[in-house]
Subunit: 414 residues, 4 copies
Amino acid sequence: MLIKTIPSFNKKKIFNDPIYGFITIPYEIVFDLIEHPYFQRLSRIRQLGMSYLVYPGALHTRFHHALGAMHLMGRAIEVIRSKGIKITEEEAKGVTIAILLHDIGHGPFSHALENSIVHGITHEDISSLLMNNLNTQFKGELSIAIKIFKDQYPKRFLHQLVSGQLDMDRLDYLSRDSFFTGVSEGIVGYDRIIKMLNVVDDRLVIEEKAIYSIESFLISRRLMYWQVYLHKTVLAAENLMINILKRAKELSAKGEDLFATPSFAEFLKNNHTSSSFKNATIIKKFTALDDVDIMASVKVWVHHPDFILSRLASMMINRRLYKITLSNTPFTKNELKAQLNIYRKQYGLSEKEASYLAFTGSISNKVYNLDSDKIYILQKGGKLIDFAKATDQLNIQVLKKEIIKHFLCYTFEG
Amino acid sequence: MLIKTIPSFNKKKIFNDPIYGFITIPYEIVFDLIEHPYFQRLSRIRQLGMSYLVYPGALHTRFHHALGAMHLMGRAIEVIRSKGIKITEEEAKGVTIAILLHDIGHGPFSHALENSIVHGITHEDISSLLMNNLNTQFKGELSIAIKIFKDQYPKRFLHQLVSGQLDMDRLDYLSRDSFFTGVSEGIVGYDRIIKMLNVVDDRLVIEEKAIYSIESFLISRRLMYWQVYLHKTVLAAENLMINILKRAKELSAKGEDLFATPSFAEFLKNNHTSSSFKNATIIKKFTALDDVDIMASVKVWVHHPDFILSRLASMMINRRLYKITLSNTPFTKNELKAQLNIYRKQYGLSEKEASYLAFTGSISNKVYNLDSDKIYILQKGGKLIDFAKATDQLNIQVLKKEIIKHFLCYTFEG
Amino acid sequence: MLIKTIPSFNKKKIFNDPIYGFITIPYEIVFDLIEHPYFQRLSRIRQLGMSYLVYPGALHTRFHHALGAMHLMGRAIEVIRSKGIKITEEEAKGVTIAILLHDIGHGPFSHALENSIVHGITHEDISSLLMNNLNTQFKGELSIAIKIFKDQYPKRFLHQLVSGQLDMDRLDYLSRDSFFTGVSEGIVGYDRIIKMLNVVDDRLVIEEKAIYSIESFLISRRLMYWQVYLHKTVLAAENLMINILKRAKELSAKGEDLFATPSFAEFLKNNHTSSSFKNATIIKKFTALDDVDIMASVKVWVHHPDFILSRLASMMINRRLYKITLSNTPFTKNELKAQLNIYRKQYGLSEKEASYLAFTGSISNKVYNLDSDKIYILQKGGKLIDFAKATDQLNIQVLKKEIIKHFLCYTFEG
Amino acid sequence: MLIKTIPSFNKKKIFNDPIYGFITIPYEIVFDLIEHPYFQRLSRIRQLGMSYLVYPGALHTRFHHALGAMHLMGRAIEVIRSKGIKITEEEAKGVTIAILLHDIGHGPFSHALENSIVHGITHEDISSLLMNNLNTQFKGELSIAIKIFKDQYPKRFLHQLVSGQLDMDRLDYLSRDSFFTGVSEGIVGYDRIIKMLNVVDDRLVIEEKAIYSIESFLISRRLMYWQVYLHKTVLAAENLMINILKRAKELSAKGEDLFATPSFAEFLKNNHTSSSFKNATIIKKFTALDDVDIMASVKVWVHHPDFILSRLASMMINRRLYKITLSNTPFTKNELKAQLNIYRKQYGLSEKEASYLAFTGSISNKVYNLDSDKIYILQKGGKLIDFAKATDQLNIQVLKKEIIKHFLCYTFEG
């Protein structure tokens, strides 16, 4: 009967996507990679972390984003080929896998917790590491994908499609984040931009006609930073999450036994760094960790005897976030101190403890903006020029400028 | 400084909604109710349970649905008033609160787990109970809302707006589920239907012009049942969840110590029924339970020594769901037995144990379709007629007919 | 300089379409056909005639519809090929041209005026005739297209893609009409339906999974009939147009010299039938005729000395349409007579003249519904069944039933 | 029977709008104004003139735009009132009428033909004049509307809602033009902008939160200019229309009898200026003129014996537009002359005649950009600042800068 035959999956599966309609799986190996636990984990990691506390629709996952970016890659390949640029089937498969797996190394709430859960290793590094693991499992089928991902493949424009000024990652995440938050001004003309892609001298360029679309894309991106990614309430939520983890680690280091799911406990109770990832067990634990582990543990900490931890956890779970005040100039020590003293008196806290309830910090758009490479515009005559020079409107220097906003977070009585 | 003043929240908060654009909070008490932990919990309960395993965008929560239904209620009130039907401010507030809280008693994955986590008490009962609690906390301000919810308020059309053939609950959930799954045919003309609402003899009716919109609404709803709510892979996932919980309870009853978050442990280790809800502690535990608790525990069970439990949990986490075959007629005992025997031999299982890996069942659209009340059409001359008679196309008898689909679920080697 | 070189058009032109995003021209000959005056004329013929008087957005043209249907054809070809059905490049080009030109023979306001401007010849006949002309101009390149259009090509499923129960014509016009009118319930899941197309025994079939989409499609179509195509105010406008032309022809036959554009004058002053189209001059005049000619002439007739003509023309231009009453049973002669007598007395009209101001008639959904061919569902096992039997819900007999609505139109004082 | 009773229109009519869903008529007089022939004429004047030759969906009319802007005005009134700013019912009606009628004086293809059909009078002047006429017909009911329109009403922010940096006109036309062309990047967050409107010191301001939406709005507007309004093929079409009219007037002045509809003939054969509008007959003719008159006449001129006129008319009707080359610097006389000489020789034309076939010109974004008034941002503390200073990104000086593009148009052999 049924059980004896290994079922032949229909690997032509179609995913519904509210943005693009349907997403078709282009290669059998892509189907297998999607089935892999590493990739399935992404369906439990939200793309925008805590932002759903401000934008209740923003629950979309890195899983869906990876599929979406893969879908756009398919279109980009088609457009570029139609312009006479050669992309072999192997290369097409490679660049498709590279975009599919570009975020495979992300941990839970990674915007907030990137440096809290593990140290000294970026999510890109972990992505590379996991891709290598997969490459072993898939007997070398990912070799080209890995080269493209690491920018070690000769046709360098393929890497730019994965990671560059106009890569499929950005085009998808801006479209997707805008769609699910409902911030309609963030909409990006991904369709027109992709239609206007071309390759000159092994460099991804954009045809001149799309210059206004690029302006619009950059301004949309900027709007999304300030309206969504760096929204002050989102900042408050992320800092709350950071402080919860910091306090939990502190208590844990003191020998307190904190509730945590086993995967989370590993990272809570030990300080893992880059070198830990040489250990297969750690990789296994890391790839079992997702948003669920964090939230489940925070929920339990609401009832922890430590005043600080339970207070912070409760603020998260019941959405009583820090109040936050923004300023273009740093807050003075005295401003903060006055606030801290009130908490110290009221709750009998040390200064260090009080600083979980009120603190200052700063945020910069730079984190999103590591734009070392330029956008090249292909003019009608065939000449390439820097977009920064082609636009008469956008002040690219200003757009690239690091903007620092200072903030003061504090809790209130209650 | 800051801490001493209780911050005056801006209770005119606006929520972004990708479907309606903006949702405005109409009353101060609505703001306070949304802030309440009972309601915040809904932001951790997905509207469509496991459906995201089939439709990756279907991650929207009961929190967002409740806000959406409240938004539609605002429009319905406006339309009905514009037709000369009186709704006082107190009634408007009441019906708004009633729709906001109509799902407050839902537990996690309630479509699958409604009878597994607690017994002999429906989510509507729990909603009533929690509303009563809130009414106490809010000093009686919810009294009208509760009467409307329970259909004890004199103007009975208000109840129909909350729960009836064309209530704001359905209009929102069909729109929302269709939007987030990306099943575009499920789109409902909520706007037109609301514009055509009217009240005759204290009964919610729909103006004749909207007759084709109603046909379209019923067909969309049907499409959503079969394409989404009763999608066979969704069924497979829900039955997997049911079996996981069943096995966990079985082991727990035998004295095995299973990992579980504390709130979940309460319901895993005890059989709570209607009477348990007289106990404030149980209510507290129940209102602390959400999707996160279940998923976090299932994740840990992947590594449990019990073969069945770990197998099922791993199937869930890594999306290796049951294979499922549908049939219009029941499967025979022999068909199932043959399959069970294979598992028994292969894994050395008892028949009871094997039945976690293969089993039959049936599903009926009836669960969604308890349509005892009719839709009344208001004809031009002022006469009311039953929609079933007004439509020459839809065979309402057929539409209401219970359709039973039988299924066989089984796992496969590997 | 420039003039000496015949410009090399970029025949890879892209059209913007608010529905599909972008429409790409797939073949050079398609570009040339779009440039041809026969096709350009379609940009001055609205798809929905007078419907813009009810739905102000419904101004889209047959030109845009033809491009849209061609776009869908491209997708259908891709899907069908991906299922292992062979379609050669020549056949793909043929079926693409066939759909592009399927409406080339339509005259202005053809829903209303089909039998008024010319007699005894359908728009399909004229389409055939014009395609033959084009075939001569394009040296036989349209031969396959014409065979497919006339259902004389061996692979008959290609014809079904152009004209059949689920052809690209319908999928586009329902989507387009729904989009531009703003009747959101009319939305059709064209994407899903196309993905589910297949070919069995040279017959276009639809895979079982799409059964609910087909139900939804049929109900959407029905909604569009009654809400848009046969909307009572649209009927009133169309009958007004018919009567204007009838009166103008009557006056013209009596020797009155009516203002008309030259192309229109030809058809106003002569009764052209099928045989006229053997004459190249008539073809030239017909292919110069569009909405503009009719409206420009009607505008001038507002000031014509004939009471009836000027009255009707003014009603059209100033949107003082007939009032219209619908009924399931025919109106009696007496009902009409009473009304006519009033006009006769008031304006001193003969009965025949008065009948321009009040008249009865009937409309049937049959005109849209010549569905002799069935929709075949391809079941999982490979069996084909009639959709009418596969659906447990839709009463296909009822859906196909001719529904006759009787109407009484009349004008009012003032 | 029926005729004796003046029918009581249901003045609560609802219009379908694909952008906003439904548009409701707020006042009885608004219904009557919409019914007026002056307003009905707008349903035969396209918002974007010839742009449909590039964007085939861009057929929307000034009629639909006026309804849309009225709809947004309703929302703006609601928002502003909700912030405690008083707007009386009379004022609300006034500002609603003012926006409804703001474009009532537009002629056909007015972007191209504004200075060709009449001279020395702007469409705003004609709008004022027609509003005065209507005010007489409606017995003074439009007095407040007219004052608001002319900025003579004390509450000056009402005028700003009709005509200002963030008026409902712009918000609607950008949304509408973007929607119907399919240029998705042009989408404007009208909803958010309106929600953030406020009034300080009788001045319309925008709350600080909306600053990124304003940036996005300005960049979208800019994109729409270059991608749609000043699209080079649109320019080519508009210049073709201008030249057709110029040639027709030239021939007419020489005594040639040209076909034209009577309303058009009046303006073709006479040079009407501001003073002509004192004459009621001229007003009557002007308000009978629309796109239909122009196109019908151009269609006939295809067969006119004058080589130039027939050539140009045929280019328009068959969409064989001028080829156009853009440049940032002016074209030299020699460049043009060389081209003209070729035509002169080939067709035996005078230089003046040849200049209908090739000519240079320039276009500036200034025409759209008469932004003398500033956008004021309302900061949290209540301070107003100039948006130009509030934005760190947009270089407002550059945005406001007049950009001149030079073009060379020419025809080609064939």
